[in-house]
Amino acid sequence: MVQPPTQNAVEAVGLSRSFGATRAVDGLDLVVPAGGVYGLLGPNGAGKTTTIRLLATLLRPDAGSARVLGSDVVSEAAAVRREIALTGQFASVDGDLTGAENLVLQCRLLGHTRRSARARAERLLVAFGLDDAANRLVATYSGGMQRRLDVAASVVRTPRLLFLDEPTTGLDPRSRHQVWDLVHELVGHGTTVLLTTQYLDEADQLADRIGVVARGRVVATGTPDALKRSIGGDVLEMRLSSPADAVRASAALAELTDGTPSLSETVAEDGTALLSVPLSVPVRRILDVVDDAGVAPVGFDVRRPTLDEVFLALTAEEVAA
């Protein structure tokens, strides 16, 4: 029987790996569709790096299984390695060699002849803006330069799936944007990128889809927008002329919204008050109720929760559960 071509870059089911008593990855389910950028978002110690190492065949799972581009990461590890490239959390380049030598080594290991390896390394160095530093030891490179060299080494042969483990940790904003540009270009070329990050803005900027990781599991998945909507959806923010108005309005609204906790009042410095109401009921009804309570708002704003709010809500749920 012929298997249908796989549509997913990664399919993991119940993936688990412990180190001693620590369950770093604990029954993780993950589906990464082919194409685009998938962001694994989570705090330090959530299990992101272990997940990447399991998927990149660097670690064997204790339980569960994973297929990368259709091949099993344990029984078909060699096939997986032919399709992937990895840029690790700590520079996966050799500080004792020059930038050029690092790339030539990578080329030779991927089957280039001596001459074509040198030519390929040279092109990559130029393309990544490292040609001036080509013959310097990598140990003398800045963090941003090491990262660029690292990514260059990962595209010696264009991988179908690129793992980037915290690609911008410790980089200055300029180098960070350079890495982001690079990721966009790779994706435009058809490579699927699976990246981990602890930065919400990075996930928001780069990822088409996000998996939120906490305690070794994926606790939520979706597009950044869908995730933001998932916790109560959009929010109506009303500016009221005094805190007293806010108290009256929120008392009137409590019945309408079943006393949702997201109904929040804050008092601004100028004496006005902000009332946030989740848009689980139509805006019109909210305004009617407020009007009936004899309160006239001085301003409105409809906004989406920030990814920060989503993240805190999701990881708080996980801790509570």
Partner: protein, 274 residues
């Protein structure tokens, strides 16, 4: 300041080797051996202490003790030089283990291990590249010897055969260091252990003096010490009176070291890195 990415990286993405067959094991080993030699070139000072000791010993022993031990420095150096040559090469064997110890604690190992190449090529290539170090040490000691009066009767052929045999044994011994390098917690621990193991091996041998004058218990060790066997074989090769039995014994000992320690290294490498 370089304007980074003047040329779009995408322009270099069009040259994929997707259709090329996987790299052969030998090509991968060669690539890693090349890496090992590059490190020797970039940081020659790393090997300086290992080469300084035998050079100092050659000069000091020849002139300090030569007269007392063998009548004259010139006649003692005929006896001593095969010993210091072996010492020089064997002290270099620890570098493979040191290099592996450093690599497994660094991110670069993740890159190597995620490549579609034979997983042990990294170990085999690293140790193979160190043959370059052994040859550098050998050439330095041989030249120094010739300078201070060593005259091997075996001629050029004898010297080449002698250096070749010592390098074969050193390569075999380097697998022991590979195991230690993979077990030790830090490069410092590897260096410390190397000091503790190398010195009894090289000193409690027939490298410097004839064991006839040693107490009986020490003679037992010195006779059994593989370094003594190697030094004896070297002396006969340099003298042009090679005893094939001695040479064969060294080759058998080398094969035995590799047969035991290479599989152990591969096993530890897979475990340490996973």
């Amino acid at each position: 300041m370089t304007t980074a990415m003047d040329i779009s990286p995408v322009s270099v993405l069009e040259d994929p080797l997707d259709e090329s067959p996987p790299t052969s094991a030998t090509a991968a080993v060669r690539a890693f051996a090349w890496r090992s030699l590059l490190k020797l070139r970039h940081t020659p000072e790393q090997a300086a202490d290992a080469i300084l000791i035998p050079v100092l010993f050659t000069v000091l022993f020849t002139y300090l003790f030569g007269g007392a031990l063998a009548g004259s420095p010139r006649s003692y150096v005929q006896y001593l030089l095969p010993g210091t040559l072996v010492m020089a090469i064997l002290l270099m064997t620890v570098y493979g283990g040191l290099a592996l110890n450093t690599d497994v604690s660094r991110g670069v190992l993740d890159r190597f291990r995620s490549l579609p190449v034979w997983q042990s090529a990294h170990v085999v290539g690293t140790l193979a590249g160190d043959v370059g170090r052994y040859l550098v040490a050998a050439v330095l000691v041989v030249l120094l010897g010739l300078l201070i009066g060593w005259r091997p009767d075996g001629g050029m052929a004898g010297v080449l055969a002698g250096v070749g045999l010592a390098v074969v044994f050193a390569y075999a011994l380097s697998w022991v260091w590979a195991v230690i390098g993979l077990l030790a917690r830090s490069p410092q621990a590897v260096s410390m252990l190397s000091f503790l193991i190398q010195f009894p091996l090289t000193f409690a041998s027939n490298a410097f003096v004839d064991p006839d004058t040693m107490p009986g218990w020490l003679q037992v060790w010195v006779e059994a010490n593989p370094v003594s066997l190697l030094v004896t074989a070297e002396r006969t090769l340099f003298a042009g009176t090679a005893d094939l039995g001695d040479v064969a014994w060294v080759l058998v000992a080398s094969a035995a070291l590799v047969a035991v320690f290479a599989p152990l290294t591969f096993h530890l490498y897979r475990r340490r890195s996973a």
